[in-house]
């Protein structure tokens, strides 16, 4: 019984990580659609507006880097405070297109899953 419960929890944890990993990219792109922001601001905004993601702070920067490499984000360094250089990110045209497509995909996924779960509840 204990082992079975452990297996379930492990599976839930894995599933949860996979969901969050996908959602994190969408959340970052959505934040940057509203304003340009640098890494720490993005991490803080994610913590406030998307706390369900419960992201380790350290995972945000490699995600930003990946999105930038794929040309969804553009960046510019700001050295106004020379001890804390800040890399400001903004959404590119490709990023805006990706946001639109990701939002649509997420909506479809969410609606269909909701219907599926309502059906499961009804049974």
């Amino acid at each position: 019984m204990e082992k079975s419960r452990k297996n379930v929890l492990e599976e839930i944890e894995r599933w949860s990580k996979e969901i969050k990993r996908g959602a994190a990219s969408l959340a970052i792109v959505a934040i940057l659609d509203e304003q340009t922001a640098y890494g720490y601001e993005i991490v803080k905004t994610l913590g406030e507006k998307a706390s369900f993601l419960q992201l380790e702070q350290g995972t945000v920067y490699p995600l930003l880097r990946r999105l930038e490499k794929r040309k969804l984000l553009a960046s510019e360094w700001n050295y106004d405070d020379p001890t804390k250089p800040k890399k400001y990110y903004k959404l590119t045209a490709d990023g805006k297109m990706a946001l639109q497509m990701m939002t649509e995909t997420w909506s479809v996924l969410s609606d269909e899953l909701k219907r599926l779960l309502e059906g499961a509840d009804a049974q």
């Binding site: 350290g58 945000v60 920067y61 880097r65 050295y79 020379p82 250089p85």
Partner: protein
């Protein structure tokens, strides 16, 4: 946990660096800013030891960051995804060292390939490389698996694990040249070139070696020019290509040098009244070895040539890998690159100023050329 708050942050960044690709300086700069801001927030405007430790803990395990970067699941073949980047670097390191030693041995007349029984040139080259890669993969896998098995993580989050210390060797190699190291190349290159061209020095060597001394002086001046370029512009593709070509020129020169005998014929001797020239063959030295004096000198000569070949082959391989990396990033030939941490020429001044040893000599320099001094207010 020892060290100042900034030192703790730098040590933690070294851990993160291990798991990220070679060209991750921008990411590390961002993370440094994040940790400083988070520590300031937690310390209510001041960076304290406690707030820094908490900021580091909140940032999370570097391996998680690496996983997020990889974004490809938990394993790549038999290897956990977070170890892919450091493992690639370690394999490159081992293969490059092996290739450098094989080329060095071949030039001084000792073919390692003959030892393993593969002599059918040029077909032995792919065999040699395949063998090197296979052996390096095997070594890396054994070391990673072994250290992972014995590792017990009870150290503070800013301290490297034993495995990370090993994997960090790979990232250290790819750090850019320090600015003061580049400056030292300029000075040493010019000084040695001048020494080789001075008549009182040239008179010590055999006649047939003088032409090679001229070539060596030219290469040393080129080395100084390379150092100057690195000093001015840091690491960029033009400087790296220059370094690779220059390394190749030294290797070619060594192919000639190994075929000549020990070149030093005379040395200066002060007899109490004046300096006179004494021929080496006239020195009353008894060598109690089974080899003759000429054989011992030939051995020294071969070892010297071997060292020059290995170090320059290594330099060619590392520069080539870096150029490939920068080309992949769509960087051109010339840009204001960065400098790595180097040996500070005035360490006592560094201590007086309380500067963290983990920092670069002149404060951080960024990929777009911006540069400033490090003057974080540590509390």
């Amino acid at each position: 946990m020892s060290g100042s708050p900034m030192n703790m942050i730098e040590k933690y960044l070294e851990r993160v660096r291990v798991y990220l690709p070679i060209d991750s300086e921008d990411t590390l700069t961002e993370i440094r800013t994040h940790l400083i801001e988070e520590a300031e927030t937690l310390g209510q405007g001041k960076i304290t030891h406690g707030s820094t430790m908490l900021a580091i803990e909140r940032f999370g395990d570097p391996k998680e960051a690496a996983n997020a970067y990889a974004g490809i699941g938990n394993r790549v073949g038999p290897l956990p995804a977070e170890y892919v980047q450091p493992a690639i670097r370690i394999v490159l390191l081992l293969v490059s060292l092996g290739v450098a030693f094989i080329i060095g041995s071949y030039i001084v007349g000792l073919s390692i390939l003959d030892v393993v029984g593969i002599t059918n040139f040029p077909f032995n080259i792919p065999v040699m490389i395949a063998l090197q890669v296979a052996l390096s993969l095997l070594y890396a896998a054994i070391i990673i698996a072994g250290l992972s098995a014995i590792e017990k993580r009870d150290a503070p989050p800013s301290e490297k694990t034993v495995l990370e210390s090993f994997l960090g060797l790979g990232s250290d190699v790819f750090k850019p040249k320090g600015r003061w190291d580049a400056a030292a190349e300029v000075v040493l290159g010019v000084v040695f070139a001048i020494v080789l061209l001075l008549s009182p020095i040239r008179i010590l060597f055999r006649e047939d070696f003088l032409l090679f001394m001229n070539v060596m002086a030219i290469l040393l001046l080129a080395d100084a020019l390379k150092g100057l370029l690195f000093f001015i512009a840091g690491e960029n593709n033009l400087n790296l290509l220059f370094e690779a070509v220059l390394g190749g020129a030294w290797v070619v020169l060594c192919m000639f040098l190994i075929n000549i005998q020990w070149p030093l014929e005379q040395i200066y001797n002060f007899d109490g009244a004046e300096w006179t020239l004494v021929r080496l063959t006239d020195l009353p030295i008894e060598i109690s070895t089974p080899f003759s004096g000429a054989e011992v000198l030939a051995l020294f000569w071969a070892i010297g040539v071997f060292i020059v070949v290995v170090t320059n082959t290594w330099s060619i391989l590392v520069s080539s890998m870096k150029v490939a990396m920068y080309l992949k990033e769509d960087k051109g030939l010339w840009w204001q690159g960065r400098w790595g941490p180097g040996r500070h020429p005035f360490p006592f001044r560094r201590r007086e100023s309380g500067e963290s040893q983990a920092h670069s000599d002149d404060g951080p320099t960024y990929s777009d050329g911006h540069k400033e001094s490090d003057n974080i207010d540590e509390t």
